[in-house]
């Protein structure tokens, strides 16, 4: 097995490389996001106004002053600044009179520009609030009346480990992807390649039965796919346990034994299903090139539910029955739940049953294809 570079690369090297790369990148992004970034702000009309200066400073420490509006807009458009603030003439005076207007321009396509705008909104709201409080005090009215309702935000208790990591949705996707691509890397050679080279004929003239040949290849494929998937899981465990990326796992890293067993229970039938798809397509193909073309097309269909699982958190569909019974998607959800330490055993059962049944049906198809004469060479 280790003599084949495709196996070594597909089952070991690439899963480890991808996991390390993803964890490092996500950790880096998380680190940046957790520290407030000060965007560059361009202002016009500040002209020594103290209040304008205080407001600007509250938004950002990186401030550039311009003289014309066109200059300010151009800087935001080109990305040199994230926000353009236009102070009206005699800013402090107009505020004192009431009805002053602060003109702000931002780039909606730039996330940092949106963040800067939100900061300006907060600063302006705070300024208005402070002004209102001052008026109330002067008029001997309790300033607390300006805030009759206060909002107190709390978080649900997260299980120790991956709860605080933004990787928790991405890791199941990577584990599922490698369960497929591990087998994908060798399957065209395993069946269509044997057909093309003529080694299939030497196998078929031996006393072993066709279904035994199909089963042997299916199990070999399952082994490589499972190894590939488990390698990615081990890589996640290693990165977490060694603390290689603390920002990717801010609340620490731990997976319980039941969670690991739940992951394994949902992965094994998934691997069986993937092996069934891969071997059937490869057996139906005329040669390696044809097999690779078909397999690439099939991979899009197979990977789509795993991709969709990334967006489930933005919908209210996570607990929908159809999600639990949809192949690949149900498995991704189960893996995520297991990583969070809150396995839904019913969902796990649904995922195992779906993948297991489809895998068994596809193995039957593969055996039928191996019994056909076209398995020797399709012309």
């Amino acid at each position: 097995m280790f003599r084949d570079r495709r196996v070594v690369s597909g089952a070991f090297v690439m899963p480890v490389f991808m996991i390390i790369m993803f964890v490092t990148l996500i950790g880096l992004v998380q680190e940046k996001v957790s520290k407030p970034t000060k965007p560059t702000v361009v202002v016009m009309g500040m002209a020594g106004d103290k209040l304008a200066a205080t407001l600007t400073k509250a938004v950002s420490s990186k401030v550039t002053e311009v003289k014309t509006r066109a200059e300010g807009l151009a800087m935001v458009r080109k990305g040199g600044a994230k926000l353009f603030i236009e102070f009206p003439p005699r800013f402090t005076e107009t505020i004192a009179k009431g009805g002053s207007e602060l003109k702000v321009t931002y780039d909606p396509t730039e996330p940092l520009s949106g963040i800067a705008l939100a900061t300006v909104r907060e600063v302006v709201a705070a300024q208005n609030q402070a002004k209102l409080k001052a008026i109330l005090i002067v008029n001997q009215v309790d300033p607390k009346l300006t805030e009759p309702l206060k909002l107190k935000v709390g978080e649900t208790e997260q299980p120790k480990g991956l709860g605080g990591s933004s990787l928790v949705s991405l890791l199941p996707y990577l584990i599922v992807i490698w369960a497929f691509y591990g087998g994908f890397s060798i399957v065209s050679d395993l069946v269509a390649g044997e057909k093309e080279r003529g080694t299939m004929e030497t196998l078929l003239v031996s006393p072993i039965k066709r279904h035994e040949v199909a089963l042997g290849k299916y199990l070999a494929l399952c082994l490589v796919s499972l190894t590939s998937s488990l390698t990615s899981l081990v890589a996640i465990l290693a990165v977490g346990a060694l603390g290689l990326s603390k920002s990717a796992f801010p609340t620490g890293f731990s997976i319980s034994l039941p969670a690991l067993l739940a992951m394994l229970a949902t992965l094994i039938p998934l691997v069986g299903m993937f092996a069934g798809i891969l071997i059937s397509v490869s057996a139906a193909a005329k040669n390696m090139r044809e097999a690779q073309t078909y397999l690439t097309l099939v991979s899009f269909v197979v990977v789509m539910p795993a991709v969709f699982s990334q967006f489930l958190g933005f919908t209210d569909m996570r607990n929908a029955l159809w999600v639990k019974w949809t192949p690949v998607l149900g498995t991704s959800v189960c893996l995520r739940d297991a990583l969070l330490g809150k396995t839904d055993w019913l969902a796990l059962l649904a995922s195992v049953a779906t993948s297991g049944l489809i895998g068994a049906a596809l193995l039957w198809v593969a055996v039928r294809l191996f019994r056909k004469e076209t398995i020797l060479a399709r012309t």
């Binding site: 004929e201 030497t202 031996s206 006393p207």
Partner: protein
Amino acid sequence: MIKTESLSKHFQDPKKGWIRAVEDVSVEAQPGKVFGMLGVNGAGKTTFLRMLSTVISPTGGKAWVNGFDVLKEPERVRESIGFLSASTALYGRLTGEEVLEYFGGLFGLAGEELHSRIRSVSQALRLDEFAGQLCDKMSTGQKQRVSIARAILHDPPVLFFDEPTAGLDVVTSQTVMEFIESYRDAGKTIVFSTHIMSEAERICDHIAVIDQGRILAQGSKEDLMELTSQPTLEKSFLALVGYRREGAVA
């Protein structure tokens, strides 16, 4: 021994319709003799051998190999045969020795029996100097010697050779031919398909000329020359094939 009665194989081609790859072939091959199938490319030789080795099923007729019915006892038939063709290949990432161990296992050999057989065929085919090399690194001749070893490892009573010298150099071809002769002398039943007249003349005790799936004539080399009143096997062959293709023989 091998016997076929009206053995036929028809394929359905989406473009060409029904193709009669082998039609109504009745032959017998005896132990200690080389039975030759002589025909041009596409004549039906490979299809005939594949039916006998149970890799594909006949659409008509019957066949027995070593006393076993190819349709009813395919596993027993495969236990009894060794199959070698120019198109069969080896696993490039296995060494010659590993290939023999793997196929020996598939034929039910294990332990000391397997290793004793490997030693025996390695000695007979002079594999020792390169048996530890990966098959991908071997020369064509070395690969063909490993392929022969693979085919005879389980000491089958029947051997099928489908154009075994195609693409080989003179020296390697000579090794293959010498091996077939030695196996014939050991009392094995051998079916040898070829389109090379000199090989058929040298090695075959009985020759069946096949063209477009049908046996045109069969017998010893001398029988065929006498039948066609030609001085050589090559001319006899050409006379038979040409004669039929002109439409004189149905």
